[in-house]
Point group: C2
Chain length 649, copies 2
Amino acid sequence: MASMTTLKGETFDRSLFESVLKRRFFFTEAFEIYRLSPNFKGDNRGLFDYGPPGCALSANLVDTWRKHFVLEENMLEVDCPVITPELVLKTSGHVDKFSDWMCKDPAKGDYLRADHLVRNVLESRVARGVNGPSKDSPKLSSDTVIEYKEILAKIDNYDGSGLAGLIKRLDIRNPNGNGEVLPPIPFNLMFKSTAGPNSAAPVYLRPETAQGQFLNFKKLLDYNQNQMPFASASIGKSYRNEIAPRSGLIRTREFLMAEIEHYVDPQKKEHSRFHEVTSVQLPLLDRESQLAGKTEPRIIAIGEAVKSEIIDNETLGYFLARIMLFLIKIGVDPTKVRFRQHLRNEMAHYACDCWDAELLTSYGWIECVGCADRSAYDLTVHSNYTGASLTVKEALPGGPVKLEEWQATLDKKLTGPRFKRDAKAVQDSLEALDQKTLHSLAIELEEKGVVTVVTRTALSTGESSVKLTKEFLTISKATRLQTTREYTPNVIEPSFGIGRIMYSLLEHVFWCRSQDSARAVLSLPIGVAPTKVLIVPLSAHVEFTPIVRNISARLRLLGISHNVDSSSASIGKRYARNDELGTPLGVTIDFDTVKNGSITLRERDSTRQIRASEDEILHAMKNIVGGTESWEQVCRRLPLFLGQGQDER
Amino acid sequence: MASMTTLKGETFDRSLFESVLKRRFFFTEAFEIYRLSPNFKGDNRGLFDYGPPGCALSANLVDTWRKHFVLEENMLEVDCPVITPELVLKTSGHVDKFSDWMCKDPAKGDYLRADHLVRNVLESRVARGVNGPSKDSPKLSSDTVIEYKEILAKIDNYDGSGLAGLIKRLDIRNPNGNGEVLPPIPFNLMFKSTAGPNSAAPVYLRPETAQGQFLNFKKLLDYNQNQMPFASASIGKSYRNEIAPRSGLIRTREFLMAEIEHYVDPQKKEHSRFHEVTSVQLPLLDRESQLAGKTEPRIIAIGEAVKSEIIDNETLGYFLARIMLFLIKIGVDPTKVRFRQHLRNEMAHYACDCWDAELLTSYGWIECVGCADRSAYDLTVHSNYTGASLTVKEALPGGPVKLEEWQATLDKKLTGPRFKRDAKAVQDSLEALDQKTLHSLAIELEEKGVVTVVTRTALSTGESSVKLTKEFLTISKATRLQTTREYTPNVIEPSFGIGRIMYSLLEHVFWCRSQDSARAVLSLPIGVAPTKVLIVPLSAHVEFTPIVRNISARLRLLGISHNVDSSSASIGKRYARNDELGTPLGVTIDFDTVKNGSITLRERDSTRQIRASEDEILHAMKNIVGGTESWEQVCRRLPLFLGQGQDER
């Protein structure tokens, strides 16, 4: 695991960090008063409450995301239900394939995620230098250390039988009690329930927002006046019923996602705005480098990466660059970002390529944004199942062309009486056959006089195929004038885990003033900071009240979020509290304010203060929040203040 | 049911309205392509997708709500999980009491909500004038009509046995097939699932956001630096597993809520800002009026309503007035609002009083905002169960007082060995007893020499009480100096159903241009309209492209959401499309723009246009969106334009 240092180069202290976040109520384990109660036997892990600053920070991240992606490119934002009928997720592959490998320890009754079990045990063996659970286990040879490290580097590449093999061969046991575990079985990660009183209506909580967007593809294309390419987007909660959630906000059962589905012609993966981002530098760690055991990314301009085919196409490259720009905008430390390509066995069942934006945290590199090429997978499976058309029809660019094609024709007079209410299903099934199949059926029909055709839907007889003789069916070559081209779009999907991004960002901006490790600061950019301004009257003196109220009202009119702290703590203590909350600006009101109307403005990171009239300070705050002037620029034109509050340095 | 007219006094046409909303993709039934597929057997009712305009409108309503309530009063916004352990909702009463009465029709296999069944059948009998399902049923007497109408007016007041009595006495049957139904049974409205692989961890999807807020009360009070009163707020999805959802967006299984929990000293229900709202006029329909069969509210200033005790207290009154102001701000028709007090049996199990803001729609009066006084119910039950303190401690205003109190003292030397690990539970149980109980126990102990004390939590022996003799226990009067007052706050809860408000609002702002019923308009206020500005180039002429791009970039800088429609449809058609989307402003670029840089600005409701330079029009748009200038004011200072596009009137 890479070591974590703060912005100031000091070692990152997670327990100090967590105590600050807890004290300031950024977030907390949900249902805490129940968890602490002796009667509580349930499993409430992986669920978190966001307190006021966490909730505001999360909302600001979402807001920034919406401006950076949705508004900037006129994406079509939709909002679809979390509750999803089983059939939809059966078709998408999630009912069968969206699972983790799980081992049970029958002695302890523990359920363990198999890959985590292997990783934890091997990491522990490497760290302790022994090849077993106890101190007396045999020493690890240097060859075994190398072997274990190679396994760890590609742990995401093992499937169930691979993990079972490792567990058996390396005698991996439950660290809790050292019991043998049963072989891994798949555990589906979706929460299941039932809609309405009828138990025949199983539903799941969605594992991603994507499916709702795909099902609406035709309506979205229509809304977009049939213009391609375009993107839909969705922000909402998704759910994964993790086997054993740990690591705080990193692995939760309920989480906020922001997902983009960009629909593109598979033959035209260029992007019209790619030229705007070609020089953006990205730290890339591709598949080959990982299999060679490398963990350090190489930094390369995205234009170069696409040209040299490290990145498959411009559209994928464009989004990777835009993701990097977004992360920098919200305050992520660019030296703690890498883009890692998924290994083949690691990819979700729907993806044909995937790059993760990973952020370095005290838990190691954490996947925070996935950018997958889902090809035409989802639109195809939903269309096949429902019979709904999820395609794009475009006029052929070079004008109409003549096509010689195999065509299947049914004798309607015979098929009607024979198949009755299934006649249409038989007709539809023939129409859905591709040219290759028709060709081989034509040969078979010619040779045997009869062919079997699999139907797209079950027939009323319960059968799923029909036999058709030459009397009923003709398959012959015919000429057709093609005027349009029809295709199923490919989907490039940038998918953001807002909670993980927020947690990693908080680690990146956390540091302590060098004089005092108890003086923590969160250097959040003003755009995402929970509160922009703190107003501090020097004391509870009655003359300050109307001034505070007036400044507060003026800030509200400007749409600048702010807090008033009129508690009896010292000015320094009140600022220290707000440094921990990441509040970038502070306004002090003192007796000079009453005399001459001047107020001070303090900047969080430098603790420098300036003093000027209320109007001038408000104007400066408006500029800083709006991004039209920096703190440094304001300092150059307004006088520094070296009076009260300087004791805090 | 009251008849619905549009803003312009015409009869509201729901089918026309729905076709517009569907065509413009405000929302649609979710999973539609599956629902239309012959293989789909599930129940996906009560679930909706919001398309781009619906999603934007909903987001704007939430944004307006946050500014109007949360930011205006510095409420503490939190975000808590949807997934909730069973024990929390068992304690809150939802597992036992959050249900609807349901009848099964064994012949058809239908599940029917009992109150809806009674209402539908009686309404149908009254409308048809016959006392049974067929035309040949006996005619209704005028006495019976009166009786049925009285039942209908207080249908919400019947419990399960009341409904069973009506169904039997009035021979109410399933309208689908006329079969007899089984007596009503309670159907719990929460979706149930399991957390993790262990089936011993049952969870529910929350039916309201409130519980998460209550559980954090102590942390919130601490965050608020122990200042009372204060409010928390939460915006998020909640779930109700409706028996048979109907009525589109009015009754859904998944819905967005915005809830405020205002914590107040039960002895001080005054509100410091009540004076700001005393003159707000509210249409009130109180409990007594309803039981007398009245349906029309009376309009009364909130100051007067609190003074005359129609409304219980200032805090409740303050929020009712603020709710009214919010509804007007977002564009609800004030003549289609009423505030109805809940009947006794209608109230949720936690409420001691409740007023609903109801909006008149084509479905009748719909509850859109509930404003309940939950008293100390929730904080008390959670505190009792978990042992966590959910109270406020304040210094006594008049200084310390001496109290003579009953005190229970255990002989530690004896109780330790006797109760072992249960000793603390016994001690805690004694400490939790109130003065009245202690007094009677003291008498009993004196008389019988032994008392039985019920323990707060089950003991390790499985018992839930202990017998204590005089040897173990002393109960006597003692003097104590009380310096603080401790109390459980009461909670006033304004709770908003965003989807219902959105649907009702859309009905309120829908109308058609008198010349043409196919020319529909949604007169949404600019603050909530999905898109503020439409940019329309006269044609696809290449000279317009850089002008469009420039105006678009300038609007983006101003943070004004806009769309470009450069399709080949006529200007009139493009404006008509955007009238249906509720876009308030339109900008046209034509050949005069190329010549002299002037552009036109069109207002949706009046279709009037003005023409001026790009700078002047952008400045005007900024003012209108920001609320600093009205369209009428802009018209007075910039020249009207009577050129192209006037054909649309």
